[in-house]
């Protein structure tokens, strides 16, 4: 355990979730595909370690992000959210990042009205070449979430989905059984032994 993790553990000790687990912040990062997401990719290629509590959501441009999306993240239990866009003047769509700065400022105001700390939300400029900066910003937000404690809405979000995540991020629907190279007999087809998964659900014997 390195120093940062140790300090996290010390901080987190006071915040017990209802499930009895120690507080592990959830940080959502909305990243612009051209700059910040590439920087996160670079951080990975550079083998830089940053907090695993950061969930990255790739967006085409931070200009697409609106206040409602940021509020929803907090309603669904995020402890901190950051929007990472290009440097001023570097936006692929010219002014998407400038718009995002305004939207984040507005959303901070909306959060303050609700009674949540506006510091839970931040905008960062992270150019594509700045892998280490991405790691630094990610850790910075996790530390901030640690210092602020859990988002009070986290518990209601937790209850809402039956004390589970809305959807496990790594779970995928089961793949249909492989048919390639496999003999499917007439009898089997008649019995409906080879279900085919469709977007609507499973159709036996299709």
């Amino acid at each position: 355990m390195n120093d940062t993790q140790a300090s996290h553990a010390a901080h987190g000790a006071g915040h017990e979730l209802e499930t009895g687990k120690a507080y592990e912040p959830k940080v959502v990062a909305y990243c612009c595909t051209y700059c910040a997401y590439t920087a996160a990719d670079l951080a990975g290629s550079m083998r830089l370690s940053y907090s695993p509590q950061v969930r990255i959501i790739k967006t085409l441009c931070t200009g697409k992000i609106d206040a409602l999306l940021l509020l929803k993240a907090f309603e669904e239990g995020a402890d901190a959210v950051f929007v990472a866009g290009c440097n001023i003047g570097d936006c692929h769509f010219l002014e998407g990042n400038l718009r995002a700065i305004q939207v984040v400022a507005h959303a901070k105001h909306l959060l303050a009205e609700i009674g949540l700390e506006p510091e839970r939300l931040e905008f960062f400029h992270i150019p594509a070449s700045a892998g280490p900066l991405f790691a630094q910003r990610a850790n910075q937000m996790v530390e901030r979430a640690m210092a602020l404690g859990p988002n009070p809405l986290r518990f209601s979000a937790h209850e809402k989905y039956g004390k589970k995540l809305q959807r496990e991020p790594d779970s995928h629907p089961a793949l249909p059984p492989a048919r390639f190279g496999r003999l499917v007999t007439e009898a089997e087809r008649e019995k409906g032994a080879t279900p085919v998964r469709t977007p609507e659900g499973t159709i036996p014997g299709a």
Partner: protein
């Protein structure tokens, strides 16, 4: 367009006290354009209220719907089916829309979420300014398209007062003097002669409230109604 701005969240939350099921009704016309009560703003307001309720540990159901306009009866028809499920309607329309919604659903409390500001224009993204006071007797033909009834703090109709200060108003030094603007515009148009015409005292009787207007094409039909 009618320009409005949302009331402080504390005030709106105060309105909802004791209501378990609330329907936020948006208006998709003027207040949607001025980013105060359209579909997006209704979603944000409902989201904020839901988060407040959760933070306070209240059980409150807050739903949202946006109609095309709240100043036309026909757009209320689809609401009729669901209104009875709610204790309270919160309207994000201008004052006119709130009243019309309250008139249509007079068995439910209908409360305003916005403060209606003025009839104005969009100066730029997110910035609106007043241009018309609805005086019911337009004189823009004689003032180069600049309204002294709105732009002049004293509603002067025959040139500036003695307080015009290098093109600024003596009432509020940050605002332009309407009559300086009018002079410059008429000079540009070559119509300074319009200033020589004396405007008679304004007839305020045409703008008595509450105003009502029936289009000529509909007057006869209205008179024939039993």
């Amino acid at each position: 367009m009618i320009v409005a701005k949302r009331k402080p969240l504390e005030q709106i939350e105060g309105f909802l006290e004791g209501a378990e099921r609330v329907l936020v009704v948006g208006c998709g016309t003027c207040v949607a354009v001025c980013m105060a009560g359209g579909e997006k703003e209704v979603e944000i307001l409902a989201e904020q209220l839901r988060m407040r309720a959760k933070l306070a540990g209240r059980r409150q159901q807050i739903d949202e719907v946006t109609v095309t306009r709240q100043c036309d009866r026909e757009y209320f028809a689809p609401l009729a089916a669901c209104v009875d499920q709610y204790d309270l309607l919160l309207s994000t329309a201008c004052g006119a829309g709130v009243q019309f919604l309250a008139e249509r659903f007079d068995h439910k409390p209908v409360l305003p979420a916005l403060n209606t500001l003025f009839i104005g224009v969009a100066e730029g993204p997110g910035v609106w300014s007043q241009r018309c006071t609805a005086c019911a007797d337009c004189i823009l033909d004689q003032t180069g398209g600049i309204c002294p009834m709105t732009m002049c703090a004293k509603n002067l109709l025959n040139g500036p007062c003695g307080g015009t200060n290098h093109g600024k108003c003596e009432v509020d030094g940050t605002k332009d003097c309407a009559w300086t603007l009018i002079y410059r515009r008429l000079e540009k148009l070559g119509r300074l002669d319009l200033l020589k015409k004396i405007q008679l005292p304004k007839d305020y009787s045409v703008a008595t409230k509450p105003a009502r207007f029936t289009h000529e094409a509909f007057q006869k039909a209205e008179n024939q109604e039993p």
